[in-house]
Amino acid sequence: MNETAQQELRDEEVVALCQQGQSEVFEVLVRKYMEKAFRIAFDFTHDTEEAKDLSQEAFLRAFSRIKQFDGRSSFYTWFYRLVVNICLDHTRRKGRVIWERLEKETEGSTERVELADGSSLPDEEAIAGEAKRKADLTLEAMPNKQRTAFLLRNHQGLSIPDIAKVMKTTEGTVRVYLHRAVAALRQSLVEFV
């Protein structure tokens, strides 16, 4: 099968081929989901290298368990769950480190802005940077489930039923998580609106 034909395959077809032993076809799924997987890992880690490692680990895990995928959910829901779980495990292990790094970044933010070209950046850009850092801190301080629900909806654009599948919970619970996360963010970012 040539590359163009492979790219046109639906996820279920790719998975079926992998399950039959054509493991090289898995690269189609890598190509298709690498950016999304990386983005969500980056939302959790705020670090390019870590995000790359974690998202690639998710692909390896998906590859090694592809025969266990039973098709009850879509591949991307199943894969998102792997990515999210790997990121949450990582956050639990390194939560403290991430928190300290974000605090350091916030402390050093003014200095970095001034060092850029020897003069201050425009006010709007500086405020946007500050808002971004505050949003990151607020997200980090959130309970994992609220943060996950928010990131999947706001950053990844997953629907509430899909988030419920990824998080293995009910749609009602996802709505509550999402509402709490959004309310907390609005509360902390009101000065930048």
């Binding site: 493991s23 898995f26 690269e27 890598v30 190509r31 690498m34 950016e35 990386f38 983005r39 980056f42 390019t48 790359k52 690639q56 692909f59 390896l60 590859f63 090694s64 709007e124 405020i127 946007a128 808002a131 971004k132 949003a135 909806r153 706001n154 950053h155 629907s159 509430i160 709505r175 509550v176 999402l178 509402h179 959004v182 309310a183 963010l185 609005r186 509360q187 970012l189 009101v190 000065e191 930048f192 609106v193």
Partner: protein, 178 residues
């Protein structure tokens, strides 16, 4: 982006969750029309929704990465997959001919062979802890009445050996006297 200060007006409690869903385009048609109806007469909820519209899209804006990053990412991932496959190939090759029903069949055959081996080899195997018991046959140990018989046999054996000893002692004496 302008600073508004910390004058935060909260949305109506009954509508706040629905407003979040409304912003994302979620919720049923009935829920959406209920929210729209409420928004017309509630400035606090209108402000809440406006805040979400200003804040949330900016948060989701991804940082741009150059195409080379994605090329490297993909190539690295393909390499990792190849290494993974290579590492797991040795044991897969063992079981490769055994697809579907063959694996359980192989397991059953292995268990059966083990059972046959145990049955056939039972009489030939010796265990160190049972050596003392094997010296005395079980059928003899079971019948305690026979112990008296063996004790008397021991006595007879002792008598005959005593007679032999006496005989051997008497012979040199006889030759001296003779």
């Amino acid at each position: 982006m302008t600073e508004r200060g910390d004058t935060l007006r909260t949305a109506c409690k009954d509508f706040e969750e629905d407003l979040v869903l409304y912003y994302y385009g979620d919720g049923s048609a009935a829920e959406r029309s209920r929210v729209e109806g409420h928004l017309q007469g509630c400035s606090s909820c209108q402000e809440f929704l406006d805040d979400l519209r200003k804040l949330l899209p900016k948060m989701a804006k991804p940082s741009e990465l150059p195409p080379t990053f994605w090329d490297n990412y993909y190539n690295e991932m393909v390499q990792k997959l190849a290494v993974y496959e290579e590492r797991h190939a040795w044991w897969k090759s063992w079981f490769a001919p055994m697809r579907g029903w063959m694996l359980p069949a192989f397991g059953t055959a292995a268990v059966a062979a083990l059972a046959i081996g145990l049955v056939i080899g039972r009489g030939h195997w010796h265990y160190p802890f049972s050596q003392t018991q094997e010296r005395i046959p079980q059928e003899i140990l079971a019948d305690t009445n026979q112990l008296e018989f063996f004790e008397s046999m021991d006595l007879l054996e002792n008598l005959s050996s005593l007679e032999t000893q006496d005989g051997s002692k008497a012979q040199p004496g006889n030759s001296q006297h003779g």
